[in-house]
Symmetry: C2
Subunit: 184 residues, 2 copies
Amino acid sequence: MEAAARVIARRGVRGLRVEELAAEAGVSTALIYYHFKDRTGILRQTLEFINDRAERYTTERDPDAPPLSPREDLDHTLLLELQDSAEVRENSTAWGELRASAVFDDALREDLARATLVWVQEIAELLGRVRPMTPATALASAAERLTALLEGLSMRWLSGSLPLAHARALMAEAIEVEVARLGR
Amino acid sequence: MEAAARVIARRGVRGLRVEELAAEAGVSTALIYYHFKDRTGILRQTLEFINDRAERYTTERDPDAPPLSPREDLDHTLLLELQDSAEVRENSTAWGELRASAVFDDALREDLARATLVWVQEIAELLGRVRPMTPATALASAAERLTALLEGLSMRWLSGSLPLAHARALMAEAIEVEVARLGR
């Protein structure tokens, strides 16, 4: 799975060749097909893998650090998706590729819609801890906007239209704006 | 150029074959190469073409219709990018493909950054007419967020993760939120 995420982040979904993936993972192409059945199987499993990994790097904390306030937790979770580490860059590139491919490839759509929903719900839950008196629909809308904005900013960053520090500042301000609105 | 936008919206940038483009346009591949020099030339010109076309369909109005207020103009310009017409779907698909390709293709980055900037400035100007007392940097940040959100929502719509009507509702609410904030 790590090899698949690496190859997709390097060449894109459309540039993914099973031979290259096998070489990257140090296994035979036969084993790849045995495990994943086909190309769609590889993409689906990669989607799951990068989501689990994002879940880990956005929530992992030093066990001795003081607990985060709900608001810090929200900022932390969203802004960790905009950092210049190899892992985040690779994850975001692969996610953007799966998103862009699903425009043309129906087989990916359902898994991607489900992964998007899980992410939106996670952010809605964090928003709900910051603003406990807010109706669920308002939390969901704010979470949909924040996550869609994050996808848009990530793509601008990765495609060279937006410096990372500025993307982070825009995202931080967006969180501020949405949280302030939920509090009114 | 229309043929290029159609082929990219049908197969993606990575699926663009000069032979198919020539057939779609009803000309020879030699003529395509003569005009555009190479693949990058085709992509650059297509980027310019879809931007001009978006400029047209987001600003074109019945000359007998009453003039729009600044706020209506802003809503109109942004929400017309989320409509289920063949032209908008094709334009947004091609834009998303050029954005996604620029992650891997350095040759596209400069043109795409410039096109993004022009779009951000156009929206900042509309925001400035709605809220004339706002400093330029605040207008620019709001415009960057609104356009990046629009890109994120478009990709969710086109990839089947978000119904169009809901994408429009989220976008309308985001405009509301940003405009309210600039007014404070």
